[in-house]
Structures are given as structure tokens and as C-alpha cells.
């Protein structure tokens, strides 16, 4: 069982939502999870309808059965200062560096340095133990950067290796990589049943695998039930118009005769059905591409009114129902 779950996917496919649902799902039965975000967007706070998260782990939700979800917004600058403090007792010098823009410099000019700080903090939480020697968190879920950047982000070792060949940053990168490449880690990719996100998912998986980072599952988000299929449409095409008109009329929607209300509904309704069938067909093709990837898949339905807290708990339940992730 992985303990570090990294959730990536194309922008806007639901990374933050799925990461939060997963943190809730993994927290049931009295367990404790940590949900971390790394891009300074306060997406978690928005989702859980709380004020902005500080750079501090705090409980943001209880899961069914008494579990707890904690959250942390990791900030690279703060992580670097902490780190300096921890290893060098820098105190004032740290502040001076910050004033000069050194921290900004270090955390932005070399994305690798920045990433090693962010992933480093998450890995630290994964490995952290309490006095009794038990893990503080049963699982850590990361709302990670999108697919296009995820491999670079996680493969900090390569990134930093070219930059820092020795020294503490180098060592830190090594330590982080040991966790990220171990079975303790699983990268999950969120996708929609659309061409671009599916393509990105396939590309992302190939990249992650090439980098030796373990891939977990594919979460297919915002699925919609197929209300009609091609079979139905064929029936329609075979001239069932009269029958449909009768049925509509029978259901109280007006006259079935030519020019009657029910009859006039048929064209627009059939047009919508054709569009629907086209979409279902596309989705089916995308679904096939996803299953061909040979990874476990999970499906989450589209919540018609958007995701509120109740909806989020519902998604968490659906994830759990689909087996261990």
C-alpha cells in the first residue's frame, strides 16, 4: 500500500477535487491523512470552505468513522527558510538572505531547487513518526502540478543533479528520490473522457515510467451516464418517428399529428440524441485508450451542480467503493 499519493492530471480535470476526495477516502476508519498543496493557490481551502491555509498542518475535515484529514499548503520559500534553520541555525542570516531576494532567487531560478523543497516537505511528512514509533500520517495526498510538469517535478534528482553535485541540496534530493521511486509512492492521473486529457495521461504515464516513478491509477472524472446509445438511434433512424410522436403524446406532451407539439419536439430531440451519441462514441474510444494503459481505473461522476462539501464526501465514498487506491 502506498503512503504517498501524488495526484496529477491535465489542468482543470479535477486534480484538487480528486486529491481532496482521496484524502477523505483514505481517512475513514479512524485513520489520519495529510492533504498537501504545492502551488500556492489555496485550492484546498476553497474546496473545504475554510479560510486560507497557513504554512502549518491543521485539521480541516473529519472523515466518516472518526478519521481526520489534515492539510498543509507548502510554500517553497518557507520550506527553504525552515530547512536553513534546521541545518544551519541561520536565524538572522536567513532573514537577510530573504531580504536580498536570495530565497526568491534560489526557489525560482532553478525549478529543481524549488521542487526538491516542496517534495522534500511532503516526503518528510510521509516518514514522520511519533514517539511510539508509529507513522503520524497513514497517508499523504499531494495535489500536484499538472501532467505536463509532473515528471520534472518529481524527478528532482535529475533536475538538481546537474546543478548541485554535492552539498546538502544534493543530499536532500537523493533522500527525496528514494521515497519517490519506492513503492511507498503512487502517482495517480486524473482525466476526463476527452481527447486532450487522455493523450496527456498516456504521455504522462510513459514519462513517469521512463523516470522510474511508480504510477498508481487513472481517475476518470466527471463521467456522465450514457442515456441513449447507437442502438436507440438506429431505432429512431428506422423511422420510428411516428412511434416516438405517439409516445411523447401519450406522456402528455401534446399532439402526435403533423404540426402537433409532440411531433415538433421530435427533430430537436433527435438532434440532441445524435450529438449525445457522437459524444458517447468519442468517450468510448477515449475509454478504450485508457483501459489499454493497463492501470487500475476509477470513475467519478459529474456532479451537476458542481462540487460542494457534501459532493466531495460523496466522491470520497465513490472512490472507496471502487476498491483500494
Amino acid at each position: 500500500m502506498s503512503r504517498l499519493h501524488v495526484v496529477s492530471g491535465k489542468g482543470g480535470t479535477g486534480k484538487t477535487t480528486v486529491a481532496a476526495a482521496l484524502a477523505l477516502a483514505l481517512a475513514t476508519e479512524g485513520r489520519r491523512t495529510l492533504l498537501v498543496e504545492v502551488e500556492g493557490r489555496q485550492g484546498i481551502a476553497q474546496l473545504f470552505e475554510t479560510e486560507a491555509l497557513p504554512y502549518e498542518e491543521r485539521k480541516i475535515a473529519v472523515a466518516p468513522g472518526g478519521g481526520e484529514v489534515h492539510a498543509l499548503a507548502i510554500d517553497a520559500e518557507r520550506a527553504l527558510l525552515d530547512y536553513l534553520q534546521m541545518f544551519y541555525k541561520l536565524g538572522g542570516a536567513g532573514r537577510a538572505l530573504k531580504k536580498l531576494g536570495a530565497i526568491d532567487f534560489a526557489t525560482t531560478i532553478a525549478p529543481g531547487l524549488r521542487d526538491v523543497l516542496l517534495t522534500g516537505k511532503a516526503c518528510e511528512a510521509v516518514r514522520r513518526k511519533d514517539k511510539s514509533g508509529a507513522f503520524v500520517y497513514d497517508a499523504v495526498v499531494m495535489d500536484a502540478p499538472p501532467t505536463g510538469r509532473i515528471t520534472r517535478f518529481l524527478n528532482v534528482n535529475d533536475e538538481v543533479a546537474g546543478l548541485a553535485k554535492i552539498g546538502p541540496i544534493h543530499n536532500q534530493a537523493q533522500a527525496v528520490m528514494r521515497v519517490l521511486k519506492s513503492p511507498e509512492t503512487a502517482v495517480h492521473l486524473v482525466t476526463l473522457l476527452e481527447e486532450m486529457p487522455v493523450q496527456e495521461t498516456a504521455d504522462g504515464i510513459a514519462e513517469l515510467r521512463a523516470a522510474g516513478i511508480p504510477v498508481g491509477g487513472v481517475v476518470i472524472n466527471m463521467t456522465r451516464p450514457a442515456l441513449l446509445d447507437n442502438g436507440d438511434l438506429e431505432v429512431a433512424a428506422r423511422g420510428a418517428r411516428a412511434g416516438i410522436a405517439k409516445a411523447l403524446s401519450q406522456a402528455g406532451l401534446g399532439g402526435a399529428r403533423r404540426g402537433g407539439l409532440a411531433e415538433r419536439l421530435i427533430d430537436p430531440l433527435l438532434e440532441q440524441a445524435r450529438e449525445h451519441a457522437e459524444r458517447v462514441e468519442l468517450e468510448r474510444a477515449q475509454y478504450a485508450e485508457l483501459t489499454a494503459l493497463g492501470l487500475p481505473t476509477y470513475e467519478l461522476g459529474l456532479l451537476p451542480e458542481g462540487v460542494d462539501l457534501a459532493g466531495l464526501y460523496g466522491l470520497a465514498r465513490d472512490l472507496r467503493r471502487q476498491g483500494p487506491i
Binding site: 502551488e39 532567487f105 529543481g112 554535492i166 409516445a247 406522456a251 402528455g252 402526435a256 407539439l261 427533430d267
Partner: protein
């Protein structure tokens, strides 16, 4: 909620896309918006349309979908505009397109500003490589840089610019400045000091504070890393001023009268909130906003039939199917409406309100409600109480498969009407906030857009006057 629905009448001015792209005074159109809303598609569609209406156009795309790039003949990242084949040039226009190569653009700036040896030193520096490939904001900066180059060349009537897939539309405006001020920062100068004095009596010019600083950095990053940074900074030294000047020049270009921003958004809460921020920001920056492109909007040819009625009718039909071969259609139509609503909410969402919870019945029965004119029967039944038995007196029983199909069509329609209502609410919220912003609506195509035909279809929709039918 009720008031939400009742204020639907607010209508935004129409964004006249053809007038915009036909105007010879329009020289740059920038398509901005949150991730995935359709910026690239809109930019490419505008390019095709403007070219086919007679203008010489170049489209600068960023990370286009693979198939779209292929169909435009720009799958290769060579940073040079290529003429797009298959565009109708009868009106005297042409379309060129390119895909931004951010690293190449950065390299070109370096090569253009440093002698060969210095340029090579920079290009080979690991820090430069990291910066040019991955600095958050490099892509935005390079997009602006490329825009500046294209504009300076003055070979085009119209430049259409796509913007990077950033999480926020604001990044496009902010990132270049961030990069500029960063490269211009104090810290860079501190780092530069030791490298500049180099092997000479160097260190004594540094005050104690600074040497402590570089000492700390050296400890932290490893000596070699610090040296790389210093060499990089020293080599780039002469260019920093250049970066800022260029960024400033492009920024001014964006404020010029020939520039028009189009904010692309999906009719969803987050995307429109983002669009609203962006609109406010453009105003603050005195950048000319042409309007909002609301992309992937849904419509229905049967929008006189409400979701509630459609569901109730579907339920009644399903029951009558289930009852067969029993002669009488099921009588429990009141409860059927509820059943239908619950059925229709996707599984896993028991918490979301059933269809229609947000709409008052007043909307369900529009002025021309459902009245069976042909049969001379009024259809003003309550949403929950269609009366199949009554209808059946006049029509022979439809076959089970037709009833099943009709029920499916009705459920589908109900879903569509739900989407419509939600999109309308979010759009109206935006319009209430920014009534001055012209809007163009682009219908959602059932499939992806990945060829010229698809781009033309988007272009046609872009140019349509919105929503007369749903007035």
C-alpha cells in the same frame, strides 16, 4: 435561487467578431483565459476566419493539441510561421501559423545579444538551461517576446496570439514582469560581485556581510553550484537591462490602440470568476478589452420543454413500458416525477438536489407552455402530473421500443436543459458584474476541434449574434 432565475433578462452587448477582425486598425488580438477553456482553439479559429475574410494573418499558438497542430501543418517546433494550406485565399488573405518554441526563443535572444563565445557560455550553463526550460513564467515571457518580434517585422495585417496554458489568465501579464524584476534584482548583483572581481584581489572588496552570505549559499548549494550561478549571472550581465526593456516595450504594445484582448471562458463558475478578475485587471492596466468569448455553450432546439416536464414525461413512459403487457398505463404519475428526478442524478451524488430544485415552476410553463393545439386539449398539467391515460384515449399505444426511446430522448433533454439553466445563471452573474463587456457565445461542438473544418465551424459560431432564441 429564485431571484437568480428571475434576473435572466440582463443581456450583455454583442461582441461583433467580424467587425473586429475586419477592421484594418486591429493589428493584434490576444486570446486569454484560464486553462483549458479554448484559447488555442479560439485563436486558431479567428486566424482562419480573418484570413478567409481577406487579411494576412499570423497565429502564434502555444502547445496546441497534437491533431490541431498537424492539421495546420505546424507540428514542428521551428519557431517560424508556416503558411497554412487549405485556407480559402479568394478574398486575398492568407494564414500563417506557428507554435511557440520557448527555449529556442530564449536562445535566440541570447544569441542576438552576446558575441558568439559569450553566447555559448550562457547556452551551456546548467543554470541557463534550467531557467530557459522551466522557469515558471518563461513561457509567458517568450510568448510576449515572440509577439514583439512578429509585430516589429510588420509583415502581417493581423497577429493572433494564443496564451500559455497557465492556471490563471493573469499570469500572462504578470510573469514577464516577474522574470524581468527577478533578473534585475538585488541578489543578482550580490552574486555578480565576486565573479566580476574574479581572481584579482577580489574578496577584499566584498564586505563581511556579503562574504558571509555567499559562504552560506556555498554551503547550502555546494560550491560548484554557486560558481555556476555566478558565471551565469556574469555572462548574462549585459543582457539583463535588455530583458527589462524588451518586456516593457511589449507591455506597451499590449496597451496600444491596435491591440484587442479577448477573454475566453467556459460558462462555468470558476472560469467566469477568473474572467472577471482578468477584465478588471485589463482595465487597471489600460489594456484594450474587446470582449468575452463564452466558449462551449449549450443550446437546445426544444427549450420550450422544461427539464421537469421532460423528466416527468419520461417517467410516465418508463412506467407504462414496465406495465406492459398490462393495458392501462400506470396511474401513479404524481410519484413518478420524483422518481424521475432521483434517477437522473448521476450515481454517487445522492446529495445534490434533484433536477429542477433551483427553478420555480413559473419558468417551467413558459408563455407558450405545453398546450396540445392539435388535439384541442390543454396541456397545462402540473409538472408532476402528466396524464398518459387521457392522452392514450386519442392515440394508439406506441410500441415499447418507441416509448423506451422517447423516454431516453426526454431524459437527455432534461439533462441538456439543466446544463442550459446552469450556464445561463453563471453567465448572468458575470453580466451583472460587468454589463459593459461585449459577449460572443460559441456553441459546444459535440466532438473535439482538430481540423480546418472544425475551426471554420467555431469561427461561424463566434460571429453569430448570440441567443436571440433564448431572449
Amino acid at each position: 435561487m429564485t431571484s437568480d432565475v428571475m434576473t435572466l433578462t440582463a443581456s450583455a452587448p454583442w461582441l461583433e467578431v467580424d467587425a473586429l477582425i475586419d477592421d484594418p486598425g486591429t493589428r493584434i488580438v490576444v486570446c486569454c483565459g484560464a486553462g483549458g477553456v479554448g484559447k488555442t482553439t479560439t485563436a486558431a479559429a479567428l486566424g482562419v476566419r480573418a484570413a478567409e475574410r481577406g487579411r494576412k494573418v499570423v497565429v502564434l499558438t502555444i502547445d496546441p493539441a497534437r491533431r490541431l497542430a498537424q492539421s495546420m501543418g505546424i507540428s514542428e517546433l521551428d519557431n517560424v510561421p508556416r503558411q497554412v494550406k487549405g485556407v480559402d485565399e479568394a478574398a486575398g488573405g492568407e494564414l500563417h501559423a506557428m507554435m511557440l518554441d520557448m527555449k529556442r526563443t530564449f536562445d535566440e535572444i541570447v544569441e542576438g545579444h552576446a558575441d558568439a563565445e559569450r553566447a555559448r557560455a550562457i547556452l551551456e550553463n546548467p543554470f541557463y538551461q534550467s531557467l530557459s526550460a522551466g522557469f515558471a513564467g518563461t513561457q509567458e515571457y517568450m510568448a510576449m517576446e515572440k509577439l514583439g518580434q512578429l509585430r516589429a517585422g510588420d509583415a502581417w495585417d493581423l497577429i493572433v496570439v494564443d496564451t500559455p496554458p497557465s492556471r490563471s489568465a493573469l499570469d500572462f501579464l504578470d510573469a514577464p514582469k516577474r522574470l524581468g524584476s527577478f533578473l534585475d534584482g538585488k541578489f543578482i548583483r550580490v552574486l555578480m560581485a565576486p565573479a566580476k572581481v574574479g581572481g584579482r584581489a577580489g574578496m577584499k572588496f566584498l564586505n563581511v556581510g556579503m562574504s558571509m552570505m555567499t559562504g552560506t549559499l556555498s554551503k547550502l548549494m555546494g560550491g560548484q553550484l554557486l560558481r555556476d550561478v555566478q558565471t551565469f549571472v556574469a555572462a548574462m550581465d549585459t543582457m539583463f537591462g535588455g530583458f527589462r526593456t524588451r518586456a516593457d516595450a511589449t507591455y506597451r504594445l499590449l496597451q496600444a490602440p491596435g491591440t484587442a484582448f479577448l477573454v475566453v471562458a467556459a460558462p462555468e463558475r470558476d472560469a467566469l470568476r477568473e474572467a472577471a478578475y482578468f477584465v478588471e485587471r485589463l482595465a487597471a492596466e489600460q489594456m484594450p478589452l474587446a470582449g468575452l468569448v463564452l466558449n462551449r455553450v449549450h443550446g437546445s432546439g426544444a427549450d420550450q420543454l422544461s427539464a421537469e416536464r421532460a423528466l416527468a414525461a419520461a417517467e410516465a413512459l418508463t412506467e407504462s413500458c414496465a406495465d406492459r403487457p398490462a393495458e392501462e398505463p400506470g396511474p401513479a404519475t404524481g410519484g413518478a416525477a420524483d422518481g424521475g428526478a432521483v434517477d437522473a442524478s448521476p450515481d454517487g451524488d445522492p446529495n445534490s438536489p434533484p433536477y429542477g430544485a433551483g427553478s420555480p415552476p413559473a419558468e417551467n410553463l413558459g408563455p407558450d407552455g405545453i398546450v396540445d393545439l392539435a388535439a384541442g386539449k390543454t396541456g397545462s398539467r402540473t409538472p408532476g402530473g402528466p396524464s398518459p391515460a387521457a392522452a392514450a384515449e386519442h392515440t394508439a399505444s406506441p410500441s415499447t421500443s418507441a416509448a423506451h426511446l422517447a423516454a431516453g430522448l426526454l431524459r437527455l433533454h432534461a439533462e441538456r436543459m439543466q446544463v442550459l439553466a446552469r450556464e445561463r445563471r453563471t453567465r448572468d452573474r458575470f453580466t451583472a458584474l460587468h454589463p459593459e463587456v461585449p459577449v460572443a457565445e460559441v456553441a459546444a461542438l459535440p466532438g473535439d476541434v482538430h481540423d480546418l473544418a472544425g475551426l471554420r465551424a467555431i469561427g461561424d459560431r463566434l460571429a453569430l449574434r448570440p441567443g436571440e432564441a433564448d431572449g
